[in-house]
Amino acid sequence: MLAQHLPVLVAVVPLVAAPLIVVARSGFLGWVTALLVAAATTAMSAALLAQATASGTISYAIGSWPPPWGIEYRVDAANALVALLVSAVALVVVPYARRSVSAEVGQDRQYLFYALLMLCLAGLLGMALTGDAFNLFVFLEISSLSTYVLIALGRHRRALLAAYQYLVLGTTGATFYVIGVGLLYLATGTLNFADMAVRLADVRDARPLAAGLAFITAGIGLKLALFPLHAWLPNAYACAPSAVSAFVAATATKVSIYVLMRVYFSVFGVDAVFRDLPTGAILAVLSVAAMFAASAAAIVQPDLKRLLAFSSVGQVGYITLGISLGSAPGLAAAMAHVVNHGITKGALFLLAGAMALRLGGTGMDRVAGLARTMPVTAFAFVVGGLSLIGVPGTAGFASKWALVSAAIEAGRWWIAGAVLLSSLLAVAYVWRFVECAYFREPPAGAPDRDEAPADMTGPALALTAAVVAAGLFASPVLEASTRAAAALMGFAR
């Protein structure tokens, strides 16, 4: 009985857990609940992915109202993969959060932290699994609103400003998305993605559709921090509590990227987006600009978390570059980078949080001599940095390789060249950390050896190990991404 309800339970379990945590009013109970929920959603997402891979699309009718009239949850190899990424990252972040949150969030607010984390998880999973354009908007708002508050819980007053900035831009993005959906609804008379894909073929007047596509691209572009719509991201990631930075950096932009893929490849189709409109060219130019400008900005950041945040904007550029190719291999490479960059950036932010706990911050001057005081953390951070560069043997290499091959296959050599050149900038910003941590003396009075406690280092190292594993054994992720790309492109009923 349970198995058939999995598509909706993945989102409902964290959604129910959040108010339960509020009623219990206990930080510890909240943490235990969050841990159980993260484990449950991970297991359920994995089961869904296995089921979708084995037997194709799973459709679930909320309230037993058949689609396209009711809200449909539609799980295939693409969104089950995204759901698994989101819940697996949550499963790593929640054990880590216990100590990190105790250090950074006031005692009386910790239960609210876990309730908000569960709401955010529910929102992201709902966005991934729903097959309904408006339901997606609702979950987008659930995840966004909870993220704003989570960021505002950061230690410094600056966090409030960062959260407010993100609130203004994020709300603008969500509004643009819903305007775009409104235009599509006017043209097709349906909100169900699969039904919309079929009916779009009969729409004669292409102008509202192009406007709708433009609105959705701009709106979701804001949420996924597409250059130059990324202004909210560096402050938000840098000021949020460590556990939030890790969770949001690894999942939130990734789910938005999935939404863009769904709209482009499943609803509109490759021809409408990339042949009839210049979307591909625009996206490619913005992506390359992100790869260079954001990576260059990362080099000069005075704070490690801000450096990682700018690096995220650059890495999102690689993903949107894969989308801009408008081909199945390009889409598969983008999906692979969603997963690989998600775990890489998650691991790096967790490690940065461990440093923040011991050093009181992540400014570049504070991490000086880190290799002596926190050797394990410093080494793991370098491994994560190598994955950002795309060194063979790390996750980043596998997906960048797939991206370069897809670009060459599409005959766009300049894109392949841009990927390689921009990786040099990643070398530069990772080197800044290496230089500070390995070639500078620790500040006077620093303790000899002072790693963060095991319940923080453990999850961070586990995720770093996953980065290496995904680099050495790249085929599971690449195959899952190829299947995801096929599912995204062959969507209509």
Binding site: Y60, G106, D108, A115, R155
Partner: protein
């Protein structure tokens, strides 16, 4: 405004009627304009009115802060609980058809409880916002942290 006898008497007369009107809006929402959101706002407005006339402390005594916070969560639980009830009775999530032997009654029962949940959460959120704004600068405000 505690000392103004006219305001106090009028408030004491009006507040029960406001609450009664909220119940009417809640239960008549199935047939006419109204529903959980509007009813929740009216309930909250009655408490806000009480707070304006008799003071914030009196309002907090009548409707304590922990209760308000629990209401915010409880309404969501009622709503989600209707969905889970559908699951347990053998339907899909939020399936109202299975909530009664007669599917039409089932739909009625489902939306009734959903609206109850909405009313509880909306009045809770309204009051929480009121308490937060009204309490600013009076020592009621929560610690903002370092």
């Amino acid at each position: 405004m505690k000392s103004d006898i006219i305001l106090r008497v009028v408030a004491k007369i009006l507040i029960p009627f406001a609450l009664m009107f909220a119940l009417y809006v809640q239960f008549h929402g199935d047939f006419g304009p109204g529903g959980g959101f509007q009813a929740g706002v009216i309930v909250a407005a009655a408490v806000v009115f009480y707070g304006v006339i008799f003071g914030l402390a009196a309002a907090r005594r009548a409707v304590p802060e922990p209760l308000v916070e629990s209401m915010v969560a409880a309404g969501v639980l009622v709503y989600a609980g209707v969905g889970v009830a559908g699951l347990l009775l053998g339907g899909n999530y939020l399936d109202y058809f299975v909530l009664d032997h007669d599917p039409v009654h089932g739909q009625h029962r489902g939306i009734f409880w959903v609206e109850v949940g909405v009313a509880i959460t909306v009045s809770g959120v309204m009051l929480k916002i009121f308490y937060l704004f009204a309490g600013r600068g009076r020592g009621f405000e929560e610690d903002d942290g370092p």
